[in-house]
Amino acid sequence: MNASAPIPRPPKPLLTVTGLTKHFALKGGLFGQSRGVVRAVDDISFEVGEGETLGIVGESGCGKSTTARLLVDLISPDSGDIQLGGKLVGSELPIRELRRQVQMVFQDSYASLNPRLTMEDAISFGPMVNGMARNAAVRLAHDLLARVGLEPRRFAGRYPHELSGGQRQRVNIARALAFSPKVVVLDEAVSALDKSVEAQVLNLLTDLKAELGLTYVFISHDLNVVRYMSDRVMVMYLGQVAEVGPVDAIYGAPAHPYSRALLAAMPSMDPDRRTMEAPLAGDPPNPINPPPGCRFHTRCRFADAVCSMSDPGLYTMGTPGHLAACHLHIPASGHKAAELAA
C-alpha cells in the first residue's frame, strides 16, 4: 500500500446502483410453465467511485456475472436503478449513452471476437455503428492497437485464430476503449489466461487506467488478483452483497463469515503452513429458491436462530465504507454472540 496516499478519500460516485434485481424464470414442461425462479441478483446496491476499481468476488451462482451484464444493459433489470454520473439511466441518460460509457470485456477472448473479422474491423465496428467515418474508425483502431501493445502494422489485418489468448484479450480491451468509455467492466477478463500472460495484461490495465482516467469494475474468482487490482472489494453470495469495503479492510479484517471462509479457502503459499481444515463444507447452494433469512446461514458455523428468520441487511463496520450483512455484527440483532458483544 502506498503509505503517502491519504487514507480513504471517498471518491465521487460515478456509478450508483440501487436495489438492482434480476430473476430468471426456469421454464419447463410442454407449455413452458414456470418451474422456479433463479434469484440471480436480488436487491443489490453499491457505488463505484470515479477513477477507482471495485473488485467483485464470489463463487459460481453468486450473481457477479449477472451484475456485470446488468451494468452494460445486455440484460435489463426487473427492478432497481443505475445512475451514471448522477443521471438516472433510462430517463435522464439514454440506454445508448450508457452502452457507450460503460464497456465490458468478457472472459473468453476467442468467443469475444468474430472469427470472420480482422482485428481492425473488430475494433472499428463499434465507432462506425455510432456514426464515425470508416477512415477515422480504422485510424482509431490502429491507435488503440498500438496503445494496448500490439503493433498495428502486424496485427490490424490478422484474424482471431492467428493470435494468442493474451493478444486477443488485448484486442478486446482495445475494442472496449474505442468508445472512450468512463467505466470498463472486466468480467473474469484475465481468468482464462496463463499466469505469465495474465501479469502482462494486468500491467496493461493498470497503465490504461492511469492514462485514460478509467473506472474499473473488476470481477474475478482469483482473490490474489482482486486484491492487487482493487481499491474496494464487494463479496457476493447467492445474489446478494455479503460484504463491501476498502480492500485492506476486506482482506485484513473480513467481517462476514463467508468472506472469512473465502479467504481461508485460498491455497496456502507456505509449505510449512498448509491449510489443515476446509473453512466450509459442501457446495455453494443453488440460487433457485435460496434459503430464507441470511442466505449463508445453511453453511455458516456461527448461525443462530435469528439468521434463518431475518435478512440482516448491510451494516456499517468500524472502518468507514466497510459494510457487512451479518447478524453477528449488528447489536441487538437477536444473535446470541451479538448480544454478548453488545
Binding site: 500500500m1 502506498n2 463463487e59 459460481s60 494468442s164 493474451g166 493478444q167 496463463d194 499466469k195 505469465s196 500472460v197 495474465e198 501479469a199 502482462q200 494486468l202 500491467n203 493498470t206 474468482h221 482469483d222 482473490l223 490474489n224 488478483v225 486484491r227 492487487y228 487490482m229 480492500v247 471462509a261 473465502l262 481461508a264 479457502a265 485460498m266 491455497p267 496456502s268 503459499m269 507456505d270 509449505p271 510449512d272 498448509r274 491449510t275 489443515m276 481444515e277 476446509a278 473453512p279 466450509l280 463444507a281 459442501g282 457446495d283 455453494p284
Partner: protein
C-alpha cells in the same frame, strides 16, 4: 534405496497431424511409493501429456512416444491388451478436471464402482457393492447409502468430483494421476477436495502425480514439484526449496505472477512474450526468448541439468555459474 514407483527416462512425445507438435522433449523423473509430485506448468507445457502417457491415454495412431516409462517395475510403453486394461484403473488410475469424463451418465455411482471392483479384482457383485459404499464413505459423501443409487447428473459439482475420486481409488491403485482435478471448482470446494486427496493419499499410501497450473494448489498437495516449460522440466525440488528458493528464471516469474503478496500499485514483474509453438524440437533453452537474465549462449545451446542440492535439478546456465564460485 527401493525401486521407485514411477521411473520416466528421457520421455519424448510428438503428435503428428496437420502439423507436428513436439509436446514433450526429454522428461525424466522418479516418484517413490507414497510420494506426491506436483507438475506445475502453463497450457501447452506438456504436463497433461506426460500424465496421460503413464496411462497410455494418447491417441495411438498419431502419437510417437520415445524413452522409458516404468510404473511399479512394468514397462508401460510395451503394454498391450489385457495387461494394459489391468494397468488402467488397477495399478494406476486417473482423475480429471471434468468428472463427466470419468463417470458414465447412464449408470449409478454405486454400479460404476462395483463394476470396476468386479472387473479388476474378480469380486462378487455383493463385494463390489460393499466396496462402493465403503469408498463413498471414505470420500465423505453425505448419506452414502442413498448416493449409491444416484446418477452423476443428480449430484453437485463437488459431489461428482468426490464420486470420481471414489471410483478412481476403488481398486486401491498404487499410483493416482490427477489432471487439474480442482481447476473448475469454486474456491471453497477446491480446498475441500485438496484436503481430501491429501488425506486419502496418506491413508492408501499411494504415489500421486498432481498436474496443475496453480502454484498454491501444488504447494498444498505436493512433496516435490516439477516445473514444466515447453515440454521440458526446467526445475524440480521439494516444495520448500522451490517456493522459497526458486533458481530457474521461469519459476521465479511464475511465483511473481501468482500475485501472492504483490504490492498494489507496484508494477508486476511479468514474463514478456508467450511460450513457443513447439513445431521444432528445442535446440537451445526454450525459455531464452522470454528470459530477463539471458546470457550469450542461451540462444544456441541447450542448458545443462544442474544439481544444486540433493533432489534438486535446474536447467539453466546461471544455476551452473552460481555453483562455481569465482
Amino acid at each position: 534405496m527401493s525401486a521407485p514407483l514411477v521411473e520416466i527416462e528421457d520421455l519424448k512425445v510428438r503428435f503428428h497431424g496437420a502439423r507436428t507438435v513436439h509436446a514433450v522433449n526429454g522428461v525424466s523423473f522418479r516418484l517413490d511409493a507414497g510420494e506426491t509430485l506436483g507438475i506445475l506448468g502453463e497450457s501447452g507445457s506438456g504436463k497433461s501429456v506426460t500424465l496421460k502417457t503413464l496411462l497410455r491415454l494418447l491417441p495411438e495412431n498419431r502419437t510417437e512416444i520415445g524413452g522409458r516409462v516404468r510404473v511399479d517395475g512394468v514397462d508401460i510403453l510395451a503394454l498391450k491388451g489385457k495387461a494394459l486394461a489391468d494397468h488402467r484403473g488397477g495399478t494406476a488410475s486417473m482423475i480429471f478436471q471434468d468428472p463427466m469424463l470419468a463417470l458414465d451418465p447412464v449408470y449409478t455411482i454405486g454400479d460404476q464402482i462395483a463394476e470396476a471392483v468386479m472387473r479388476h479384482e474378480g469380486a462378487s457383485a455383493a463385494e463390489g457393492r460393499a466396496r462402493a459404499l465403503d469408498m463413498l464413505t471414505r470420500v465423505r459423501i453425505p448419506s452414502p447409502e442413498r448416493r449409491l443409487n444416484a446418477y452423476p447428473h443428480e449430484m453437485s459439482g463437488g459431489m461428482r468430483q468426490r464420486a470420481m475420486i471414489a471410483l478412481a481409488l476403488a481398486c486401491r491403485p498404487k499410483l493416482l494421476l490427477a489432471d487439474e482435478p480442482t481447476t473448475a471448482l469454486d474456491a471453497t470446494v477446491q480446498i475441500q477436495i485438496l484436503l481430501l486427496l491429501r488425506e486419502l493419499q496418506r491413508e492408501f499410501g499411494m504415489g500421486m502425480i498432481f498436474v496443475t497450473h496453480d502454484i498454491g494448489v501444488a504447494t498444498e498437495v505436493s512433496d516435490r514439484i516439477a516445473v514444466m516449460y515447453a515440454g521440458e522440466i526446467v526445475e524440480t525440488g521439494t516444495v520448500r526449496d522451490l517456493i522459497r528458493d526458486p533458481r530457474h528464471p521461469y519459476t521465479k516469474g511464475l511465483l511473481a505472477a501468482n500475485l501472492h503478496g504483490a504490492v498494489k500499485g507496484s508494477r508486476l514483474q511479468a514474463i514478456p512474450g508467450a511460450p513457443p509453438a513447439l513445431e521444432e524440437p528445442p535446440r537451445a533453452c526454450s525459455f531464452a526468448p522470454r528470459c530477463p537474465v539471458k546470457v550469450s549462449g542461451c540462444d544456441t545451446q541447450r542448458p545443462p541439468a544442474i544439481t544444486p542440492g540433493a533432489g534438486r535439478m535446474v536447467r539453466c546456465v546461471l544455476a551452473e555459474a552460481a555453483l562455481q564460485p569465482g
